[in-house]
């Protein structure tokens, strides 16, 4: 009965795959775009538990009283940010090719959360030191060509060499702390993208030891440049955030 069903869905049942002698960890890289930006890290974890079941991925289950699969997500993405580089490590216990994992998952995911790559990882999430974000900023201040150029210059100066410290209150579990966010910024560069739209590339601290939410970059711009004022109409003053990738402490690309 199961095999019949499975044939209809065009894939092999996980139970028909040979067991591995040892469970293996694979890394899945996926996008989180569009409407998916509004779901939290916790929502994502719950969702993947079900995605893996319906995709018939041969997950290894813990052997205890309450068996559960082992999945470990990478650096949490703040709500309101999109990403092309979310990561989840899966522990599987049966033979399956990485391209099969990708295809089976993509058949069970919406267009806004497609798997881009599946591979056996050689790194640990703790190797991540920085993440790169693309921030698109729509503001009336950039409506004119001169205004847009002036704004990009001011943003580049704010984060460039010899810039003034940007002191902000950073919230953490251990309480609020005043910090200079420049110490958590590797680079920020702005350019004109379109009429009224500025594009910012930001490489900022990410990971378990030091982490900067890209929202702090926006808050800094709001504070220093007076753009995106609170209560401004959403069609005139807006921004989007997209995570592009990660770097290790030595500046090499994290994969």
């Amino acid at each position: 009965m199961l095999s019949e069903k499975v044939m209809k869905r065009g894939r092999i049942s996980k139970f028909d795959r040979p067991l591995l002698s040892e469970p293996v960890t694979v890394r899945v890289v996926f996008e989180k775009r569009g409407n998916l930006q509004f779901f939290s890290h916790l929502d994502l974890q719950r969702t993947w538990q079900k995605v893996l079941v319906r995709a018939s991925i041969p997950m290894w289950y813990t052997k205890g009283f309450n068996p559960h699969s082992k999945i470990v997500f990478g650096i949490p993405l703040p709500v309101g940010s999109e990403s092309v580089c979310e990561m989840v490590d899966l522990r599987i216990d049966r033979l399956i090719r990485t391209d099969e994992i990708k295809d089976q998952l993509n058949a069970e995911l919406t267009d806004e959360m497609q798997v881009k790559e599946v591979y056996v990882p050689t790194t640990k999430y703790s190797d991540v030191a920085f993440a790169e974000y693309e921030i698109m900023l729509g503001t009336q201040a950039a409506e004119s060509a001169e205004g847009a150029l002036e704004l990009t210059d001011r943003i580049n100066d704010m984060f460039g060499h010899g810039a003034e410290p940007i002191i902000m209150t950073k919230r953490s579990k251990s309480g609020d702390k005043e910090i200079d966010i420049l110490t958590l910024v590797r680079s920020v560069s702005a350019s004109v993208a379109d009429k009224g739209v500025i594009k910012i590339r930001a490489v900022i601290a990410a990971g378990s030891s030091e982490n900067l939410n890209p929202e702090y970059i926006i808050s800094a711009l709001r504070q220093k440049l007076g753009i995106l004022p609170e209560g401004a109409p959403f069609d005139r003053e807006w921004y989007t955030v997209l995570r592009l990738g990660y770097f290790k402490a030595d500046g090499s690309v994290f994969k």
Binding site: L2, F38, F39, S40, R46, V53, L109, D235, W238, Y239
Partner: protein, 618 residues
């Protein structure tokens, strides 16, 4: 609203996932390819609405038609409502993001009386006129269905049409008639409503009935305005549950919802006929789905959803005739797929060790039963047909298996109740505690914990107790305290319901059309989410009734006359009034009535037909 604006709006409110849409399994159609658009509204939060099985089924039924597009709408939380009003954004559907005003139909699922204010709140957010008579040809048709429509009169002024009964067939028929009349060019609002009332069984158009009242405030008569429409609307049922459409794929919420699992019905209706229970009457005749179909449906949803929890749903799961075969079938694939099986609504008299070993819901340390009353006399009055021995046997099965927590549900304020009956509640709980200590196989490391939860009785339409008076606030409070005082066992934990909500629910449950004026004013005063304790304000309700000339006691605390015209007499749920009167008389004699399988009591519901039912053929 473009995607950038949507991002800015959604990141400014709590839990933006409620409003994002984009879930796996949602149905997207091209609006240029469809002839009718249906906005299915649930008058509560996303988390509650997304858990509703009825909406999952009807969303599927409507979307099976290529020229109908059904979308989902939930009540935005208050912070979002403030933003929407501030920015002048009307309420919209999740799939397309289009405002409700652009739809052909706006349908509401009326699950509980306390949601009425949220219904009006949502119409208001959608910028639609609240009153049916104020909506013109360009406005969507506002229709309603669900358990509350067995007495829809309090909200009759706001709805163009109600679906009385089960919607799998009726709802698409209504939309098809609309499409047909539009295609033929014969559609006007009034022509459509008349035609629907005339030709589609189960359709109730409140504006097509005039209501007259007597000098004492009771109803004189319901008169249809056309002579070619039925004078009473007969409830619609799906005859064969095996053939009723059931989704093979569901919309998967990303955020956590109240019941995030596979739910499959095993049967509709209940053989028991407890005299306070509306569901036990209005869903008659009892019809079962066959085990093979249930198994197949559960498995399809498992494979398309990945849910690792399966819940079988019915009014009394252990009354399912083929339960052993069904659970065996299910366990053949659930166990190895790590899917846990839940059986809610277990009756104590059919709770066995065999059943317990099979299901995960009872693998937890807690078990719940509903004796409903503390003494045998009272249980006979309400026709619970449960004996203390049954309960003791059930709890001993649980205790022997190492469980130490039992939760027991009761009611207070039932007809003929005395303080002795109330005292019986904690006394029964005490005997359950004693049974724990006397059970040699109990888990000796853990103390027993018995929780008694006592709710005030609310008389509901279409029950043998529909004529009864509800306790006043003072009586409800006194009884709650009395039960607390009688509870001297420290192993028994006592909880009770808020009598204030029960009082308002009692008014709305048996309300008539005159309550419409109060609900309209409630909307103007900003009432919403009254099912939530943080928003419910009893003093505001009392002020509302006083200001709109409504006497709540007329509806809740009066003993209604057996010959009185009832607001819900315009509806025929299949069960006859004579049966309800007979049952009421038997209640006063403390005489029980056998369940439908033991002996047919002639309730009348068999006239509606039904496959795999235990009724004698008409």
């Amino acid at each position: 609203m473009n995607s950038n604006q949507k991002r800015m709006l959604l990141t400014s409110v709590s839990k933006p996932g409620r409003y994002a849409g984009g879930e796996y399994g949602q149905i997207i159609k091209d609006k240029d390819d469809v002839k009718a658009r249906f906005a299915f509204c649930f008058p509560d939060s996303y988390e509650i609405g997304m858990s509703n099985l009825g909406i999952r089924i009807l969303y599927h039924c409507l979307n099976l038609h290529p020229d109908i597009w059904c979308e989902r709408v939930y009540a935005p939380w208050v912070d979002m409502q403030d933003k929407m009003r501030e920015l002048d954004i009307p309420l919209s559907a999740l799939e397309s993001g289009d405002a409700l005003g652009e739809f052909d139909f706006v349908g509401f699922s009326l699950q509980y009386e306390m949601c009425y204010t949220t219904v009006l709140n949502m119409l208001d957010l959608a910028k639609l006129p609240l009153l049916s008579k104020d909506r013109d040809e360009d406005c969507p048709l506002v229709i309603g269905g669900g358990p509350c429509v067995y007495n829809p009169e309090p909200v009759a002024d706001f709805f163009d049409l109600f679906n009385i009964g089960e919607g799998e067939e009726m709802l698409p028929e209504i939309v098809r008639l609309y499409i047909k009349m539009k295609d033929e060019g014969t559609y006007t609002r009034s022509a459509f409503l008349h035609e629907a009332a005339r030709t589609i069984p189960g359709v109730y158009v409140p504006s097509l009935f005039d209501v007259n009242y007597n000098a004492d405030g009771t109803i004189a008569a319901y008169t249809p305005v056309y002579d070619d429409i039925p004078t009473r609307v007969v409830k619609r049922i799906v005859t064969d549950l095996d053939k009723a459409p059931f989704p093979d794929k569901v919309v998967m919420p990303y955020i956590e919802t109240v019941q995030d699992r596979i739910t499959v019905e095993t049967a509709r209706g209940c053989i028991r006929g407890c005299r306070f229970c509306q569901a036990g009457i209005v869903y008659r005749p009892v019809r079962e789905k066959s085990a093979d179909v249930i198994d197949c449906q559960a498995r399809n949803i498992f494979e398309s959803s990945g849910y690792e929890e399966l819940s079988l749903s019915s009014l009394s799961i252990s009354d399912y005739t083929d339960i052993d075969n069904l659970t065996d079938k299910l366990l053949s694939w659930t166990d190895r797929n790590m899917v846990s099986l839940n059986l809610p609504s277990l009756r104590a008299d059919s709770f066995t060790k065999e059943l317990m070993d099979k299901v995960a819901s009872v693998r937890s340390s807690s078990l719940t039963f509903a004796p409903e009353a503390g003494t045998q006399r009272m249980r006979d009055v309400i026709n619970k047909n449960l004996y203390e021995d049954d309960l003791m046997r059930a709890v001993n099965v649980a205790f022997s298996a190492g469980k130490n927590q039992v939760k027991l549900y009761f009611m207070q304020g039932l007809p003929t109740e005395t303080d002795e009956d109330l005292r019986g509640i904690p006394e029964l709980a005490h005997r359950v505690v004693s049974a724990y200590y006397q059970n040699p196989n109990r888990n000796k490391a853990k103390p027993p914990q018995v929780t008694i939860s006592v709710s005030p009785f609310i008389p509901k339409p279409f029950t043998p107790f529909q004529w009864e008076r509800q306790d006043t606030m003072e009586e409800m409070r006194r009884k709650q305290e009395f039960v607390g005082e009688c509870n001297t066992d420290r192993k028994v934990r006592y909880t009770h319901h808020d009598p204030e909500v029960c009082h308002i629910e009692g008014v709305l449950a048996r309300g008539d059309r005159r309550l419409g004026a109060a609900l309209l004013e409630a909307c103007h005063r900003g009432f919403k989410f009254d099912a939530w304790t943080e928003f419910f304000d009893y003093s505001k309700w009392m002020a509302l009734f006083a200001d709109t000339g409504i006497d709540p006691a007329f509806y809740a605390n009066r003993e209604w006359g057996l010959d009185e015209v009832l607001p819900w007499d315009v509806i025929d749920c299949g069960v006859s009034k004579e049966f309800l009167k007979r049952e009421r008389a038997r209640a006063y004699e403390s005489t029980t009535t056998p369940n439908c399988r033991e002996k047919c009591s002639g309730c009348g519901a068999n006239k509606l037909g039904g496959k795999r039912s235990c009724c004698p053929k008409k």
